[in-house]
């Protein structure tokens, strides 16, 4: 009896603090996409979809245990593959002095450049969300971190493999031939149950941030292999094992950010090197206004070249970032990616602003061009040819609770 009362008293005592340490947030949005051309595979040029994204965070009284969760779900008018639910985050973080351990589903980001993220390999890409590949699926993992005077060490055990989510046959941005996920090939005999490992060392010395990383496991990026039988041609994703060592460096000098990402990797007994490097210069107060403009120039290469799987073989990226510094947090980013050999190019624009306190409106447009069928320089079709008919503009309206 006494125990019970104590328990209740304890519970009542902890209630106000429970409310104080518990935060939640809900984002709901609707998106309207309009494509320049009708698709070769269906007749729509406009798609409508909606997303729902709740999240929570709970921190223990002492701040040593943090629980976070974030669920993402989308329904799409055209593509059944794009209608999906994913647990982006559901993890427990425990902090002990200079160490912490995270167990659960989470997202990890390694990188500094804007045009692509070579070194960032922990999470699978959620390709149905956006063709830019910036959206990631949650990864089940155990992450251990320790902070030393000479930098931080992170160890990762990645529990289970997540396949890439591709647009469906009736969706936009689909490849020339359908992708048969059920037939996916895995180099490892454990297939999706393989435990991948990664380690990262990162440190900051004054104006210089740098990190070394190594990943050992199944490559998140599959190789699509073409199979033809009975007049039907299909792509089958092949997930090969990857050993990738990465280096990231960022140096800050006044308004300049100098960025470098470099990888050396082995896949199917082939070693290759790829890099993205460049700068971002911020011009504060354009024409005496409160608008800041960032100038970005980056160059990417991949020594597997045009024959390799990457679309960043020898590509330039130039971008302009506008930050309004206004109460509505208005921002815009214009980017142009251009392959100096094949001529493939992508022009993109993203702009957003807030209306009132809880509504955010985002405009996004991408235009793809320059890719050729049976191109002279290689004899085969350019890699981004399938995107030539997929130039689009979209409005996204999101409400935050």
């Amino acid at each position: 009896m006494f125990k019970k009362i104590t328990a209740i008293a304890l519970l009542l005592n902890s209630l106000p603090s429970l409310a104080e340490n518990f935060n939640w947030k809900l984002e709901v949005g609707t998106e309207l996409r309009h494509f320049e051309k009708k698709s070769a595979f269906n007749t729509t040029d406009t798609t409508i979809s909606a997303h729902f994204e709740p999240e929570f965070r709970y921190e223990s009284q002492q701040g040593t245990d943090i629980y976070t969760g974030r669920l993402f779900s989308r329904v799409d008018s055209e593509d059944s593959q794009r209608s999906h639910i994913d647990i982006r985050e559901l993890s427990w973080l425990h902090i002990i002095d200079n160490s912490d351990i995270r167990i659960g589903i989470s997202r990890v980001f390694w990188g500094v450049t804007e045009s692509q993220h070579l070194v960032d390999v922990i999470n699978q890409t959620d390709l149905v969300e956006n063709p830019d590949g910036e959206d990631k699926l949650g990864q089940p993992l155990i992450q251990w971190t320790h902070i030393y005077d000479w930098g931080s060490i992170d160890l990762y055990a990645l529990l289970g493999f997540r396949e890439r989510r591709f647009p469906g046959t009736e969706g936009r941005f689909r490849t020339e031939y359908p992708i048969i996920n059920d037939a996916a090939y895995f180099e490892t005999s454990n297939k999706k149950d393989n435990i991948d490992l990664a380690i990262r060392y990162s440190h900051t010395i004054s104006n210089w941030d740098f990190a070394f990383s190594h990943f050992s496991g199944t490559n998140r990026t599959p190789t699509l292999k073409k199979y033809t039988s009975d007049n039907t041609t299909e792509f089958v994703p092949h997930y090969f094992l990857l050993e990738q060592t990465g280096f990231v460096s960022q140096y800050v000098n006044k308004n300049w950010l100098w960025k470098l990402e470099l990888i050396s990797a082995v896949q199917e007994n082939n070693r290759y090197t790829a890099s993205t490097f460049g700068f971002e210069y911020t011009h504060v107060g354009l024409f005496d206004s409160q608008i800041d403009v960032g100038w970005l120039i980056e160059y990417s290469f991949d020594d597997r070249g045009t024959a390799g799987p990457s679309s960043f073989e020898h590509d330039w990226f130039s971008g302009w970032r506008f930050v309004g510094n206004d109460p509505q947090s208005t921002e815009a980013l214009i980017g142009l990616t251009w392959d100096q050999i094949t001529g493939e190019n992508t022009l993109s624009l993203e702009a957003s602003t807030r209306i009132g306190n809880n509504l955010k409106i985002t405009f996004e447009a991408r235009s793809y061009g320059g890719a050729n069928k049976a191109a002279k320089h290689s004899g085969t079709s350019d890699k981004l040819l399938y995107l030539n008919s997929e130039s689009y503009a979209q409005f996204l309206l999101a409400y935050y609770f």
């Binding site: 943090i66 912490d100 902070i147 800050v252 308004n255 971002e280 911020t282 206004d326």
Partner: protein
């Protein structure tokens, strides 16, 4: 008319000339002395935590409100470390801003973006940029180190019935948005009461007032409210500071890029 105009113009040019160049050593000396005393009296608080409610009024009088939490760590013999965690508007909820200020050179700044789970380094010479779209610039709210200005004592004045030192301070950094600031410093407590900010062209740009000071730990004065009026844009920002706690022992490890990812 022509005759009277000409001499006045010449005279006023001369005034500015003599005013800015022939600052006596005594004036500079006393100015620096006051600024140093302000810093000495406000040292030893170790760390501080406060809730911020920021209201921005545009020229039509429409307002938008931001909620955030601020943590600061005092660093001996250098600038302080500051952490700002944004709660509202909801779309930026969880965004955190970390800055290390230094007595000399550029500050270090990082931004944590929760939607992407990423920490971004900011090219940090944007002292004059507005903080969250408000009338406060970053340089107005980051720690005021003595070394960031040169000083000139302009005399004593009475403000809100109290004796004030009137001080001119000129930013050392050429990336500052100001040509000079005039500060009214309480002669008893050595705390700022009012600041006039002059733009690079020398025109009055903004006025900041510190409202309702309270004493914490029997030693440190903190204002409940900061009001910044932009005379040129006809806008105003009010910052209300609630629930101060000083010297509670926030671990220095909270002011790191790693901690940015988990402090929300």
């Amino acid at each position: 008319m022509i005759f009277t105009k000409q001499p006045i113009l010449v005279l006023s040019v001369l005034c500015i000339f003599s005013g800015s160049v022939v600052a006596s050593d005594d004036q500079s000396h006393k100015g620096l002395e006051i600024a140093t005393e302000m810093e000495i009296r406000d040292s030893g608080w170790k760390d501080q935590e406060v809730n911020i409610e920021m209201t921005m009024f545009n020229s039509q009088g429409n307002k938008s409100i931001r909620y955030m939490r601020n943590k600061a760590l005092e660093v001996r013999n250098n600038g302080d470390k500051t952490l700002v965690i944004f709660d509202k508007p909801a779309d930026v909820g969880g965004t955190a801003f970390l800055s290390f200020t230094y007595k000399q050179g550029s500050d270090d700044q990082w931004l944590f973006l929760p939607a992407l789970n990423r920490v971004k380094r900011i090219a940090s010479d944007n002292k004059s940029g507005p903080f969250m779209g408000s009338d406060f610039a970053y340089e107005d709210i980051t720690s005021q180190e003595v070394e960031k200005y040169t000083y000139k004592y302009l005399g004593d004045e009475t403000l809100i019935g109290r004796k004030m030192f009137k001080l001119e301070r000129d930013p050392v950094s050429d990336t500052s948005g100001y040509s000079k600031q005039i500060v009214w410093v309480d002669a008893e407590h050595y705390i700022s009461q009012k600041i006039d900010y002059y733009d690079r062209k020398g025109s009055l740009l903004k006025t900041q007032e510190f409202i309702n000071y309270n004493l914490y730990l029997d030693k440190y004065w903190r204002a409940d409210k900061l009001v910044m009026v932009n005379h040129q844009k006809k806008t105003r920002t009010e910052i209300e500071l609630k629930g101060y706690s000083l010297g509670t022992g926030i671990p220095p490890s909270h002011f790191s890029t790693r901690a940015l990812k988990r402090l929300r």
